[in-house]
């Protein structure tokens, strides 16, 4: 079996100051297969990718590439050997053209002059091979959709005759139909003998696209080479978490029909992305917004919050109308937002946990403008303990926490404010399975305490499992509004896609 392996890894160890990021990873990848890597955040997946792609050097263990022990000094060396990684945060340079990005770092040149026509031609061929001939090599990468940027990243990975493609959660930023296109591309590549290491939190995807699965936990391989289609979900989750998960979504409590409307949105519209949005959320109710990326669902949420200026319509909290386009007014009225891009929009990454929690409630810790840091720390410590943020310690820098724990920090911020309306945009993106159910429970507990919750998610299962009522958004309009238990996943998908040319 090892003879057929394109890449095999044995006893890989990587230490960082104070942490053992990898402490014994073994697995092998065969030509033409999709090998899935599964593990919670912090299990060492990202480090493993960086080691495989030459961004980090391993401290111990060996990597065999086509049977020979190799040591890639840097990503370019790895790419020249045929191993390329596509990271979650795409490493493309906005402002440069598609072709420039594809050949960035290994420009085609003759005595220092770039051969631009050649680069364009080869880019076109690569994009065609990936099934996306419609992307023009001259376009500015910054103007492409995320899905298309991903395709460009793949073209870049293949530009040096890539034989192994490592993809870090490629589907996290994609719509269901874009995921289908991505899978088409992956199947195309594996048919040509290219191997793919595929990382995802979504078990359904792994079943659909994967051949074999390797599970990592705490920097160690706990199982390798499992058949992706046959292995039981409970077994995988058990391996990842070390415990058994049965019911992912918390029990709903019927919303009191007498509960007052807390959030009332009428006829909301912006300049072009959406219009005529009506939305009412009662105390204790969770309303889910389903829709494709680009359907306007995130924009609706941000406009309700005042982070974008509405062109028309009104937003009321507890019957009081809010001034348009002011986050400050919305927050004072009792609204809170957990934004879609947690790192770039939600957190002060290089600051302490407690500062991230109290940032929206500073005045309650201040007297004549002077902050009582001890009170801040004590209050934050209580919250992080309730939410089980790990590792504990409110003086830790947020950057070092895993996705799920970072999300809990953002939630703690609004918990502290005791807000009336909580808007959640993709609350579980980049959050592993274990922490995910904790976040669901937290959202439900907030609703049960009388908060009006609005959840936006690309994951239809999540919207249906979590929400009491579901709104479907398509092309900037609400096309369905009804109880969550009267609609199923396929019906939502139908509504989401209808009139959508796939």
């Amino acid at each position: 079996m090892t003879a057929a392996a394109l890449l095999s890894v044995q006893g890989l160890v990587k230490r960082f100051p104070g942490v053992m990021a990898l402490q014994g990873v073994d697995f092998d990848v065969r030509a033409g297969e999709v090998h899935c890597l599964l593990g919670q955040n912090g299990a060492g997946k990202s480090t493993l990718i960086k080691v495989l792609s030459g961004a980090h050097r391993p401290d111990e263990g060996e990597i065999r590439w086509r049977g020979e022990v190799v040591s890639f000094g840097n990503p370019t060396a790895a790419m020249r050997s045929g191993v390329a990684a596509i990271y979650q945060e795409l490493d493309l340079v906005a402002g440069l053209s598609v072709a420039d990005n594809v050949f960035l770092g290994h420009e085609l040149s003759t005595v220092g002059f770039t051969r631009r026509a050649d680069a364009r031609r080869r880019t076109r061929a690569l994009l065609a091979r990936l099934g996306h001939p419609e992307i023009a090599p001259d376009r500015d990468v910054g103007r492409l959709s995320v899905a298309h940027q991903q395709v460009v990243s793949m073209a870049r990975a293949l530009s040096l005759d890539g034989q192994l493609l490592i993809m870090d959660e490629p589907s996290a930023v994609l719509d269901p139909d874009e995921v289908r296109v991505l899978f088409g591309v992956i199947r195309e590549l594996t048919a040509q003998g290219v191997a793919v290491v595929y990382i995802s939190h979504r078990l359904a995807e792994i079943r659909e696209i994967g051949d074999r699965v390797t599970v990592l936990k705490d920097g160690r391989t706990v199982a390798t080479g499992l058949p992706a289609r046959e292995v039981k979900t409970s077994e995988l989750i058990g391996l990842m978490t070390g415990r058994v998960l049965d019911n992912v979504f918390p029990q709903r409590k019927p919303v009191d029909p007498a509960a007052p409307d807390v959030l009332n949105v009428r006829g909301l519209a912006d300049k072009k992305r959406f219009r005529d949005v009506d939305l009412t959320v009662r105390a204790g109710e969770v309303v889910g917004l389903a829709g494709l990326v680009g359907s306007g669902r995130s924009e609706i949420l941000e406009t309700i919050y005042g982070a974008r200026k509405a062109a028309e319509g009104t937003v009321e909290v507890d019957g009081r109308r809010l001034r348009r386009g002011s986050v400050g007014v919305a927050v004072r009225a009792g609204m809170g937002l957990c934004p879609e891009e947690r790192k770039s929009q939600g957190l002060l990454l290089d600051q302490a946990v407690y500062r991230n929690i109290t940032v929206s409630s500073m005045s309650s810790f201040a007297r004549f403008g002077f902050l009582d840091e001890r009170a801040e720390r004590v209050r934050s410590a209580q919250l992080t303990e309730t939410l089980d943020v790990r590792p504990a310690g409110v003086d830790r820098v947020v950057r070092g926490l895993s996705g799920g724990n970072q999300q809990k920090v953002v939630l703690a911020r609004w918990l502290l404010r005791e807000c009336r309306v909580l808007l959640l945009d993709e609350p579980t993106r980049g959050v592993d399975v274990g922490a995910r159910s904790e976040i669901y429970e937290l959202i439900r507990a907030l609703a049960d305490s009388g908060v009006a919750v609005v959840v936006v998610s690309s994951d239809v299962e999540e919207v249906l499992g979590l929400a009491d009522r579901v709104l479907v958004v398509r092309e900037g309009r609400v096309v369905h509004d009804g109880p969550a238990d009267e609609i199923d996943e396929s019906r939502v998908l139908d509504l989401v896609m209808e009139g959508h040319s796939a």
Binding site: F16, P17, G18, Y305, A307, V327, G328, A330, V331, R332, L337, P339, S344, Q345, G346, L347, L348, L349, D350, Q351, R355, V359, S360, M362, S363, A366, G369, F370, L371, E373, D395, R396, V397, G400, R413
Partner: protein, 341 residues
């Protein structure tokens, strides 16, 4: 995080870990200042060795401090703007304009009729107004800070030349010079003002909501906005605060030189930014230290003093300054990398 690393590294100290714990200590907030203190002490030793008693003299030390006071006040303000993710190239020009406006015959006339404090108020008012304009342009006009303040640099100095007709304006207000020339317990008033500004700046940055917002706005403006902070208003306040510091510095400069002039404050923007950066404030925003800035100012001022005492030219001073900036930044990056990851 850096403190954690130090704490983790210390107990398991084998000979190897010992060195890394020293590095970790140097990278911790307190340690960064230790590095600056060491640099300053070395510089003073150099002064004593090369210039002997001429350096280690109370009057000479007071001269250094008096020189440091003016640029120091500007640098404290600059620390706020840079921590908040901005930059201001117009500080020198604002100092010049404030000094000229506060010493026109008309202003001096009013001051003579009423009270010398009018001169100080005028300088503060002009400086604050300039800062306000900068802030409005940047926050609401959405002009990039670098460009907006570059424009102010040109415009403010030009305006100062027009008002002063390119002449040096001598101050003849009796109480004014007397007040600033005085000493409190042997410490010149200028130095006392610098100390007060530095302490007030430290408290403002580290103990108040204003300071906390400054870190938030500089660290991640989008996250700060979505957390409910009025980022644009805060940006305006930061530049206005720096403008006020420039106004105060102008008043101090008028007192020290007994003149107002359109050539005052030359290259203050570079001196202030350099002091802030070698002090350990992150040029990209989100991290800032007033103590570091104060040390940065003292290091540069002491350096020029030692060079002057040794009859070395201003050009040689400039070269040494450049070298210090490069070494300091390289060292900081090293330490940051060690403590990070």
């Amino acid at each position: 995080m850096s403190e954690d690393t130090a704490a983790v590294a210390a107990p398991q100290s084998t000979p190897v870990a010992k060195e890394s714990s020293v590095a970790a200590l140097l990278a911790s907030p307190a340690g960064r200042n230790t590095g600056l203190v060491v640099a300053l002490v070395l510089l003073c030793l150099g002064g004593v060795v090369t210039a002997g008693d001429r350096f280690a003299d109370v009057d000479n030390v007071l001269t250094i401090l008096r020189l440091a006071a003016v640029i120091g006040v500007v640098s404290v303000g600059m620390t706020f703007v840079i921590t908040g993710g901005g930059i201001d190239l117009s500080v020198g020009a604002i100092v010049a304009l404030s000094s000229v406006w506060a010493t026109t015959l008309a202003t001096q006339g009013i001051a003579n009729d009423t009270h010398w404090i009018v001169i100080v108020f005028t300088a503060l008012l002009v400086g604050g107004a300039c800062g306000l304009v900068n802030g409005m342009l940047i926050a609401y006009g959405r002009v990039v800070a670098f460009i907006a303040t570059l424009a102010s640099l040109a415009a403010a100095r030009g305006l100062a030349e027009i008002i002063s007709n390119r002449k040096t304006q001598i101050v003849n207000v009796p109480g004014f010079a007397a007040f600033f020339d005085a000493s409190v317990l042997g410490v010149p008033v200028l130095v006392v003002i610098f100390a007060v500004v530095a302490v007030a700046g430290w408290v403002l940055l580290n103990r108040t909501t204003f300071g906390r917002r400054t870190f938030a706005v500089g660290g991640n403006p989008e996250a700060a906005r979505l957390a409910g902070i009025d980022v644009r208003r805060h940006t305006v306040l930061l530049y206005a605060l720096l403008g006020l510091c420039c106004g105060l510095a102008a008043a101090m400069l008028i007192a020290r030189t007994t003149t107002g002039s359109a050539t005052h404050g030359g290259l203050y923007e570079l001196d202030a930014i350099a002091a802030v950066v070698i002090g350990g404030t992150l040029l990209s925003g989100g991290r800032g230290t007033i103590a570091g800035t104060v040390f940065g100012v003292l290091i540069f001022t002491t350096l020029s003093n030692v060079f002057t005492l040794n009859n070395l030219s201003i050009s040689a001073q400039a070269v040494a300054k450049g070298a210090i900036i490069v070494v300091a930044v390289l060292l900081q990056q090293r330490l940051a990398r060690r403590s990070g990851a």
